[in-house]
C-alpha cells in the first residue's frame, strides 16, 4: 500500500501533499526574509533621497540601492513565485509534485546563489545595481550567484511542468486545468525563456569578470539583459493576475466571466512578450526607430490589451458573483459590500487598482518611443515600477499570504487589527511614494542619484523647488510603506511562531519547511478534482455594469495622461 502523503485542510478543502507543502513553506519563508532585507534598505534609500534628511553617505547609498533592487525584485519575488508554482500545480490539481528531491536541489541553489550575491554586495566592490551594466565590473561571485539562483529557479519551473504532466497522466482532475493553474503555466513558460536569456548574458559576463573574455558590447548586453529584466516582469504579472483570479474564487466563489477570454489574455502574454524588450532601450544608440517602434508594440500592444482585459474580467467576475448574492443595487453596491476588512481582499483589490491606474498607464506612456525621451532614467521610472511590482505584485503576494498562513501553515493570524490595516498602510504609502517619484521624474530628477543638489560637483545646477518638495513627500510615503512592509513581516513571522495552532500536528519547525506530524497526512489519494458546478440558468440579467464604468474611467484617464505627455514632449527642443 502506498504511503499516505496528503492532508486536506478542513477550512479550505484544499489538499496538500507533504513534499509540496514543505517546499512551498521553505520558498515562501525565504522570500519574506529577502522582503525584510530589501524593504529595510528601501527605507534607507528613500530617506536618503529625501533632500532634507539625506541619510546615507554616497557609497552606502549606492550599495543600499543595489541590494534593495536585487533582494526585493529578484529574490523576494522569485522565491515567492516558486511557492506559487507548487501551489498552482500540486495543491490545486491534487497531485504529487514531480521529483521533490530536485525541488530541494533547486531551493538549495537559490539559497546559495542569493547568499553569494549578498556576500558580493557586502564585500563592497559590487555596487553595480541589479542591472550590472557593463563595462562597470562587479566581483565574479556576484554573477555566479545570479547564475546559480537562476538555475535553481529553472529547476522549479521544470518541476511545475512535470507536475502538470503527472496530474494529466494520473487523471487527478477532470476537464482542463483551472484558470489559475493556466495562468501559472504562462508564468512558468515565460520564466523559462527569461532564465535562458539570463544565461546567455550572465555567463559571458561572469567569464568576462574572471578575465576569460575581454570585451562585452554594452548595447548587446542591454538588449539581452532586458530580455531577462523585462520578461521577468511579465512573469510577475502573470503570477499576480493568477492570484487575483484565485482570490476572487476563494472569497466570492467567482467564476471567470468567460474562460476563453481570460485564457486567451494569458496566452497573449506569451505571444507578445517582447523578446528583446525594446522599451528599455528606446533611448539607446545603435538600434533604429523602426526596430524600436515595432518591437515595443508589435504593431498593436497586445500584451497591454491582455492586461486591460484582465483588468476588466477580474473585478467583473467579483461583481457578477456579488450580484448573485443579492448585492444588486445601483452600480457599486457589490463593491461597497465587499469584505474590506479582510486583508486578503483589500490587499488584492488595492494592488489591482494601483497596478492598473498608475503602473499600467505610466508604463505604456513611457514605453512610447518618442515620449521616452522625456522620461528615460528619470526617477519617473522607479515611480512607475513601485506601482507595478511593489504594489501590484508584492501586495498581491502579501494578500495571498494572509490566506496561506491558516491554510498551508495551519496557524491562526496574530494581531487581527494590524492585519486589517496593513494593506492600507502599505498601499497608501506606496501610492504616495509612486505618485511623487513620478512627479519629480516629470521635472527631470534622475534615478539612482545621491545628491540632486550637486553639492560636491564643480559645476552647479538647481532643480525646481517643486522637485525637491516632491522628493520630500515621496520619502514620507516611502516611510509609510516601510511601516506597512515591516508590519507584514511581523505578522507573517509572528503568526508562524506564535499563532494559535489550527492543527495539533503543526509545530515550530513545520512553519519553516519541515512536514507536520505524520498523523496529519491521512489521505492516500484525494478524490478526483471535478468540474466547477454549472451556472444556474436564468441569470442573464447579471452583468458587470459597475466594472464596465470603472473600466471606462480607466480608459479616459489613460487617454488624457497620454496626450498630456505628448504635449509635454512637443515643448522640448526640436531634435531628430
Amino acid at each position: 500500500m502506498a504511503a499516505k502523503m496528503f492532508r486536506q485542510c478542513p477550512d479550505s478543502g484544499l489538499f496538500f501533499h507533504k513534499s509540496a507543502e514543505s517546499l512551498m513553506k521553505a520558498h515562501a519563508v525565504l522570500g519574506v526574509v529577502y522582503l525584510l532585507v530589501g524593504g529595510f534598505l528601501g527605507l534607507l534609500v528613500a530617506l536618503t533621497r529625501m533632500p532634507s534628511l539625506h541619510l546615507l553617505s554616497a557609497e552606502d547609498f549606492y550599495l543600499a540601492l543595489s541590494i534593495h533592487g536585487t533582494a526585493i525584485l529578484i529574490f523576494w519575488i522569485i522565491f515567492f513565485e516558486m511557492a506559487v508554482l507548487y501551489f498552482a500545480a500540486s495543491t490545486l490539481l491534487r497531485c504529487r509534485p514531480a521529483t521533490p528531491a530536485f525541488g530541494w536541489l533547486g531551493f538549495l541553489l537559490m539559497v546559495i546563489g542569493s547568499t553569494l550575491v549578498m556576500v558580493a554586495f557586502f564585500r563592497g566592490n559590487s555596487s553595480v545595481m541589479f542591472t550590472s551594466y557593463v563595462p562597470m565590473p562587479a566581483e565574479p561571485i556576484f554573477y555566479l550567484g545570479l547564475i546559480l539562483f537562476a538555475v535553481g529557479a529553472l529547476i522549479g519551473c521544470f518541476i511545475f511542468l512535470g507536475t502538470l504532466v503527472i496530474a494529466k497522466q494520473e487523471k487527478t482532475y477532470d476537464g482542463s486545468v483551472p484558470l489559475v493553474t493556466f495562468g501559472a503555466l504562462t508564468a512558468a513558460i515565460i520564466a523559462i525563456f527569461t532564465i535562458a536569456s539570463g544565461a546567455v548574458i550572465l555567463i559571458p559576463t561572469w567569464l568576462w569578470s574572471l578575465g576569460f573574455i575581454n570585451h562585452i558590447d554594452p548595447l548587446m548586453y542591454r538588449t539581452v539583459w532586458w530580455a531577462l529584466g523585462h520578461s521577468s516582469q511579465q512573469i510577475n504579472v502573470a503570477a499576480h493576475v493568477s492570484i487575483w483570479y484565485a482570490i476572487a474564487a476563494i472569497l466570492f466563489g467567482a467564476r471567470p466571466m468567460s474562460e476563453k477570454v481570460s485564457r486567451t489574455a494569458f496566452l497573449l502574454y506569451i505571444l507578445f512578450l517582447q523578446l528583446a524588450s525594446a522599451h528599455h532601450i528606446l533611448a539607446d544608440p545603435g538600434v533604429s526607430s523602426t526596430w524600436k517602434v515595432f518591437n515595443t508594440s508589435y504593431a498593436m500592444y497586445l500584451a497591454v490589451l491582455a492586461s486591460m482585459v484582465h483588468g476588466l474580467t477580474v473585478p467583473g467576475c467579483i461583481e457578477v458573483a456579488q450580484r448573485k448574492k443579492g448585492f444588486n443595487n445601483g452600480l457599486f453596491e457589490w463593491l461597497k459590500k465587499a469584505p474590506w476588512a479582510n486583508p486578503v481582499f483589500s490587499g488584492m483589490f488595492i494592488a489591482m487598482i494601483i497596478f492598473g491606474f498608475i503602473g499600467g498607464i505610466t508604463g505604456v506612456v513611457m514605453g512610447t518611443e518618442q515620449i521616452n525621451l522625456i522620461i528615460h532614467n528619470t526617477i519617473f521610472v522607479p515611480g512607475h515600477f513601485h506601482a507595478t511590482v511593489a504594489v501590484g505584485t508584492t501586495l498581491t503576494f502579501m494578500a495571498i499570504t494572509y490566506f496561506l498562513i491558516p491554510v498551508l501553515f495551519r496557524r491562526e493570524l496574530i494581531w487581527p487589527t494590524a492585519c486589517k490595516w496593513q494593506p492600507y498602510i502599505f498601499g497608501g504609502g506606496m501610492l504616495i511614494l509612486s505618485l511623487f517619484l513620478l512627479g519629480a521624474g516629470t521635472l527631470g530628477v534622475p534615478r539612482r542619484h545621491w545628491d540632486i543638489n550637486f553639492s560636491d560637483a564643480l559645476l552647479q545646477f538647481q532643480f525646481a523647488g517643486t522637485a525637491i518638495t516632491m522628493l520630500g513627500i515621496a520619502g514620507f510615503g516611502g516611510f509609510l510603506a516601510a511601516v506597512g512592509g515591516a508590519l507584514f513581516c511581523l505578522i507573517a513571522v509572528g503568526s508562524l511562531v506564535f499563532g494559535k495552532r489550527l492543527d495539533p500536528g503543526a509545530s515550530l519547525f513545520s512553519s519553516f519547511g519541515f512536514p507536520m506530524a505524520s498523523s496529519c497526512y491521512n489521505v492516500e489519494r484525494p478524490g478526483k478534482l471535478g468540474l466547477a458546478p454549472v451556472e444556474q440558468t436564468g441569470d442573464g440579467g447579471v452583468q458587470a455594469k459597475g466594472t464596465f464604468v470603472l473600466a471606462l474611467v480607466f480608459l479616459a484617464s489613460f487617454v488624457v495622461y497620454f496626450f498630456i505627455n505628448a504635449k509635454y514632449l512637443s515643448s522640448i527642443w526640436p531634435m531628430g
Binding site: K260, A283, T368, A532, A551, P574, M575
Partner: protein, 178 residues
C-alpha cells in the same frame, strides 16, 4: 470557480459576455492608436529620437572632441577648469562623457541647428539635459548623433542619469544657449 476546471469541458465554444466584447474592442482601438501615434510623430512631430549612430572607440571620439575644442575655445570655466567652446552655428559639435564629467562646455546659438555627437570614454552614462528634459543613453563604443535646435536661451545643465560609480552625482556638464 477559477480554481476548478471549467464547468464546460468545451469551454472555448462558450459565447463571450457582451460587456467583455465591448471592452476588448475599445481597448484594441486604443492600443492601435498608441501604436499609430509613433509613426505619426515621426512624420509630423518635431521631437524624435536620432537614428544616426556609429561605432567608435574612446580614442577616436576623444580626438574629435579635442579637435573641436582646440579650434573654438573662447574661455575656460575657472572652477572646473573646463574649456567653453563656441563652435560655428550649424556645425558638428562634440560632448564626451567620462568619470565624472561631461566635456567640454558648449556655447550654442538659439534657433540654430547643430549635429551633437555624444559618446562615453569609459562606462555607460546618461545624457540628461535640464531643465528642458531630454534624456539619452550614452554607451562607450557608440557615437550618437542628434540634430538639435535649441529654441530657448539660457544656461542648461547636463546631468548624468545613468549610474556610473561613486562619483556619479558629481557628473555635470553645461550648455549655454545665446
Amino acid at each position: 470557480m477559477s480554481i476548478l476546471p471549467p464547468s464546460q469541458k468545451i469551454w472555448w465554444k462558450e459565447p463571450i459576455h457582451g460587456i467583455e466584447m465591448m471592452w476588448i474592442i475599445l481597448a484594441l482601438i486604443w492600443c492601435l492608436v498608441l501604436f499609430l501615434w509613433m509613426p505619426y510623430w515621426h512624420v509630423y512631430g518635431k521631437q524624435n529620437l536620432s537614428n544616426e549612430s556609429y561605432k567608435t572607440s574612446p580614442e577616436q571620439f576623444e580626438a574629435k572632441a579635442n579637435t573641436m575644442a582646440k579650434a573654438y575655445t573662447v574661455r575656460t570655466d575657472a572652477k572646473s577648469n573646463t574649456p567653453v567652446v563656441h563652435p560655428p552655428a550649424g556645425s558638428d559639435v562634440y560632448m564626451l562623457g567620462r568619470l565624472w564629467q561631461w566635456w567640454p562646455i558648449l556655447e550654442l546659438e538659439k534657433n540654430k541647428t547643430y549635429r551633437l555627437h555624444l559618446s562615453s570614454l569609459d562606462w555607460q552614462h546618461g545624457f540628461s539635459l535640464q531643465p528642458t528634459n531630454i534624456n539619452l543613453q550614452i554607451l562607450p563604443g557608440y557615437e550618437t548623433v542628434v540634430t538639435i535646435t535649441p529654441d530657448q536661451s539660457g544656461e542648461f545643465a547636463v546631468v548624468c542619469n545613468e549610474y556610473c560609480g561613486v562619483g556619479h552625482h558629481t557628473m555635470l556638464g553645461k550648455i549655454y544657449v545665446k
